[in-house]
Structures are given as C-alpha cells and as structure tokens.
C-alpha cells in the first residue's frame, strides 16, 4: 500500500506530547538544572558544573546506603519470587468459593496504604503491646527493632515480604491458569514427575509474568521509602537507611538541593541500569519459550 502523507496526524499526538512533557520531561529537566548549580535562595544560583556529581560519587554514606539497598532488593527478590510461585502452585484452581476466598485473602495486603503497613508493623513488633514482639519475648528472644540493627533490617524485609508476595503469587496464578489442561494430561501420560511438570511446563509458561514480577518487585523495593520511614525512620543508626531515605534527608532535611538533584539523577540511572540488566538476563535465559 502507498504511504499516505497527512500532516494532520501531528494534531493527534499533541495531547501525548503535552502529558509526557509535563509529567516527565519538565520535572526531570528541572532536576538536571538543579544538579549543576549551587542554590542559596531564589535568584541566587551559581553554575558549578559537575561538582555535585563528584561529591555524590565520593559520598561514603551514599555508598553504604547503595550497598544496603542492593542487598535488600536482592533479598526481596530471593524470597518473594520463589515464595510467590509456591503459593500460586498451591492455590486451588477452578471456580469455587475456595478459589475466590484465597484470591481475596491474597489481595488484602495489596490494598493497604504503604504508611498504614508501616504503622501496622510498628505496633505488631512492639514488645509491650505487639503480638509479634510479645511472642518473641515470651519465647525468650530479646527482639527490639528500635535499637537492634539486625532486628530492624529483618523486620523491614519481612514487612515487604508480607506486603508484596501476594502480587507475585497473583501474577503467577494468572500465568498458571492460562496453561491448557491438555498439557498436564500429556505430562501425566508421559509419566512426568511433579518436578518435571514444574520445570518443563509450568515454569516456561510462567516466564512472561515472572519477568513482570521481577521487574516490578525490583524497582519498587529499590525505591522503598514509606514503610521503613514509618517503622524505623532509617535507624537504628543507619541500618535501614536506604537510598530514598538518604535522598530525602539530603533534599528536605539538609536542603542540599543541588547535591540531592545530582543524587536523583544517579539514582534514576542505577534503577534503569539494573532493570535493563534483569530484563536482558531473564529474556535471554528463556529464549523461545514465549509460547
């Protein structure tokens, strides 16, 4: 077919341009603008070139936060992905009251606002009135997330697992439901073991949703802010200060706008880079298993 030339098409994409410009490009450019200036007040700005970026890259506290963040995100993935798959495999299929109940129960944590999740766990973990804290005390463990770094760190991790594993489970469940029953029958006739069914039918068929689950959970956990902010405020010490906490301290606490802007850009690039790496790895390992 001949290509049709029609400049009116530009009018149709103007709304998209405007929305993207105001929601993404303009704010991002503002940040870029801040990142190369020293700002004392309105009208008192000086161009400083790459100084802020150099400062950010040399910042030891930032390095610590980054390492903490990477370990945290990897731990989140290492726990939530296998756990989500296991839950999905164990869920009842078909249309029954049991299925509906399970789905509702699973979706429940996802419906709770982030700061409420933080508050729930803050109370849950308290030694005096919290069920979790009191239980630990009763069995003789001196659990205290407010002054023990390890306890605080694990609590934040467990809280994330409680909050988000459902998402992985629901995605996997959707993936499993799309497998035609004939596959299972064929495997049964072949005499395939449960493990073989999982490895050679279910896992390849869940690949698409797993890519989404890994990317979502990675990006979200890498940018985690609200829950540790409510639960521990980044402490004790810096043990639960993740990148976004540190960024907020810098921008809002110390009002280091220029440095915080440079940090934001680096942060953005890190998330982008990791997401790209994960995406590439997952798509490569299962090449051709799309169907």
């Amino acid at each position: 077919m001949d290509k049709v030339q029609d400049n009116r098409a530009w009018f149709l994409i103007i709304p998209v341009f405007l929305i993207v410009a105001f929601s993404a490009v303009v704010p991002l450019m503002t940040v870029v603008n801040y990142s190369v200036q020293e700002i004392f007040g309105p009208g008192q700005t000086f161009f400083v070139g790459t100084e802020w970026f150099e400062a950010v890259l040399k910042d030891d506290r930032l390095h610590d936060a980054l390492v903490r963040q990477i370990i945290y995100s990897l731990a989140v993935l290492a726990i939530e992905i296998p756990l989500g798959i296991l839950i999905a495999l164990g869920m009842p299929g078909g249309r029954s009251a049991k299925t509906s109940l399970t789905l509702v129960l699973l979706a429940l944590p996802l419906l709770i606002p982030f700061n409420v999740v933080g508050t729930i766990w803050q109370i849950f973990g308290r030694g005096d009135i919290g069920l979790l804290g009191a239980t630990f005390r009763a069995i003789g463990i001196d659990y205290n997330y407010t002054n023990n770094s390890a306890h605080a760190w694990v609590t934040v991790l467990v809280m994330d697992v409680w909050h988000w594993t459902s998402l992985v489970a629901l995605l996997c469940y959707a993936g499993l439901q799309s497998i035609p029953p004939a596959f299972y029958q064929a495997a049964k006739i072949d005499g395939a073991s449960k493990w073989a069914v999982f490895r050679y039918i279910q896992l390849p068929k869940m690949r698409g949703v797993l890519i989404i689950a890994v990317l979502l959970r990675f990006m979200d956990s890498f940018m985690i802010y609200t829950e540790p902010f409510v639960l521990t405020g980044g402490g004790p010490g810096n043990s639960t200060t993740f990148l976004s906490q540190y960024l907020t301290q810098m921008a809002v606490g110390q009002f280091d706008i220029g440095k915080a802007a440079a940090f934001s850009i680096v942060y953005f690039l890190i998330v982008l880079l990791f997401s790209f790496i994960f995406y590439t790895i997952i798509t490569r390992t299962g090449e051709g298993e799309k169907k």
Partner: protein
C-alpha cells in the same frame, strides 16, 4: 495391544457423558471414533487412556483388568487437538523425553529420535524450540513424541483440526503410511466423515454419548444401522424424505415417485423414510434411470471443486451435489436427479431396512 471395553460408562454429576458401551480393539488395528462435537469421543478416549476412571464397566488391556490403574502405569500415548510439546525443550529433546523416562541408552535414543523425526519430516528442525515452528511442524513433533514411545495404544484426539486445509490433507495422507506398521493399536477421533473414509480401518460412530455402530469403515458407511448413524457419517447431511413404499414404487411425500431397485424390491409395503446422500442427487443427468426432481434454489455453496445446491421442493429441503464450481441464483428453478439404485430405506423409527448394494472394493476408490 488388545483393548477391551466392557459396558463402560461415564457420568459426571447428573449428566451422562457416555452411555454404557462395549468395544474390542484388535492389536495393530486402526480405529476411527466418528462423531460430532460433544458426541463423547474425548470422554471415551480419556477412559481408554486411563486419564479418567469409568463410573461403570471395565477396561481390559490384553485381557488384564486395568480399570482403576493410573495412566502413569499404562502403556499409552496420546496426541491432542492443541499442539502439546514441552515449550522449553528443543524438538530433539521433546521427542527424546519419553525414551529418557524409559531409561534407554544414549545411542538407542539418538537412533530412534532421528528415525521418527525423518518419518515425520522434521529432521531439519531438531534443534529448534516448538515456538519457532509452524503449527503443522509443532503437531508433527507432538506425533513423533507419541510414536517414539512405542506404546501399545496410541490415541489421537482430532489431531489435524487446528491445521489449515492443505497441511491437513498432507499430514492425513502421511499418517496412513506411518500407522501401517501394524504393531500399535491406534484410535483416531474425528468429526469429519471424509477423514474417516480416507483413513479407513474400523469406525465407531458416536452420537450424544451413545455408540451407534461399529465395524469396518466401508461397511458402516454403506450400511448405516440407523438414520442417526447415517447422518453422522454423511457430509453434507443425508437428505431424508418421508415416503410410502408400495409394491411397484417408492412414493416420496413431495410427490416424486422412484421406481424400485434391486435392494428395495420385496419389502413390506407401508410408510418409511428415504435417505439419499447428496452425491446421489445430482444436477447432471448421468443416466436415463435417474428421476428428476424440480425445485427452487435456496442456497448454493462451493466446497473444494464441488458445488452443493440446497433446493426447496414442496415442504422439503434437499441438498444436491454438482461437480465443478457453479453459481445458482437464489430462487431460480433447478432440476436435480435422484438415483433410485442408491437410496437408503429406513423404518419410520429410523432403523435401516434396505441399503444400496455396494462392492467392498468400492471403498478404495472413494479413498
């Protein structure tokens, strides 16, 4: 293997999916299950495979009762309507998988995989994943996987239905040769009478969960025991007209009189139903014996290189076959010719009374 079904039935809740039926399949035989959608073909196959247990009756393999035995311990392979392969394995690994489970050694596996792949013409694709193949090749891979297992019973549940016309014809022709080796008992389910005729062997006609008839394909096609069975085994459906049988003619309810032929002479006089297959109701007058029927065209459809003309004649609608591609304006007058030698006579209740004479060798010509 010899597969024997003794009064097997399947009931799910209040629904009787399969009424009790008995059947014996000989070792190495080729058996077609013919029936429309929901006739119970898949249900029957699942019982044969052991995927489901019958709610009544017994299943015997070589005389041994296997009614309750799980499919895992049966000697069976199955090919489905959908193309079922392990998505993460190459074609080679897919075909090799049943052999690996049997614990065969490497050299034997390799030889068998390559021989089977060659038979199904997928040798060039052994290193590919199923998703990288066309539908026809994927199904060839699935068939190869089932064949290589060397099971005593091979079940094929409408294996060609999801393929396009050309591929279907091609694969169907090859299947006959592939199954000709004669060790495996093959059961092949299809909705298409044409397919049953082309594949030959034995046919079992199912309709709404009941077995209507079973026997060599040619016998069943030419002497369907009942009107129902004839309908399932005719495409397009057989023309059925109420008639009165007298001692010198068959008077159809629409006023057409057919002279008696060798097969319907000397039958008791009285009301009956007459069945005429579309290919014995022709637009072309091939012989003076043929009896003209005038009507108006209701519809004309082209199938392959034939035309099927639906015509209204009085209260009845008839379907006539015409060689070649033709167009007939709706509502135009048309004259078709019925062959009095080829009519089926059924009782008013639908039981076969007389079928046209046929030579057993005739089937080969059809196929």
């Amino acid at each position: 293997m010899t597969l024997t079904l003794e009064g097997v039935a399947k009931r799910v809740g209040a629904e009787q999916h399969l009424h009790p039926l008995s059947l014996e399949l000989q070792p190495g035989s080729f058996n077609v299950l013919l029936g429309r959608t929901l006739a119970g073909k898949t249900t029957l196959m699942r019982l044969m495979a052991g995927l489901d247990a019958p709610t009544a009756g017994r299943v015997l393999e070589n005389g041994k009762d296997v009614t309750g035995t799980s499919v895992r311990h049966r000697d069976v392979a199955m090919v489905y309507q959908q193309f079922i392969n392990y998505p993460a394995m190459t074609v080679y690994e897919n075909i090799a998988s049943p052999l690996r489970r049997q614990g065969k050694d490497k050299a034997e596996i390799d030889a068998k995989v390559r021989r089977t792949a060659a038979m199904l013409r997928i040798t060039p694709y052994l290193d590919r994943l199923p998703a990288e193949l066309s539908g026809g090749q994927q199904q060839r891979c699935a068939i190869a996987r089932a064949l290589v297992k060397g099971a005593g019973l091979l079940l094929l549940d409408e294996p060609l239905v999801n393929l396009d016309y050309k591929l279907r014809e091609e694969l169907r022709a090859e299947l006959r040769e592939i199954f000709a080796d004669g060790k495996t008992t093959v059961v092949y389910a299809t909705t298409e009478p044409q397919e049953a005729l082309i594949l030959g062997g034995n046919v079992t006609v199912l309709h709404e969960g009941r077995m209507l008839q079973t026997g060599p394909t040619g016998d069943v096609f030419h002497t369907p025991a009942s009107l129902e069975c004839a309908q399932v085994f005719s495409d397009p459906p057989m023309n059925v007209v109420d008639a009165i049988l007298t001692n010198d003619r068959v008077a159809l309810s629409d006023g057409t009189n057919l002279p008696l032929s060798a097969h319907d002479r000397n039958l008791p006089a009285g009301p009956c139903k007459v069945g005429i297959r579309a290919n014995h109701l022709t637009v072309l007058r091939r012989s003076e014996r043929l009896v003209p029927i005038r009507g108006k065209v209701a519809l004309s459809e082209i199938s392959g290189s034939e035309t099927f003309v639906h015509l209204r004649h009085g209260d009845t609608t008839l379907i006539a076959r015409e060689e070649g591609v033709h167009s007939h304006p709706i509502g135009s007058d048309i004259q078709v010719y019925a062959d009095p030698d080829r009519i089926f006579v059924f009782s008013s209740a639908g039981q076969l009374v007389a079928a046209p004479n046929w030579r057993r060798s005739a089937l080969r010509n059809i196929a």
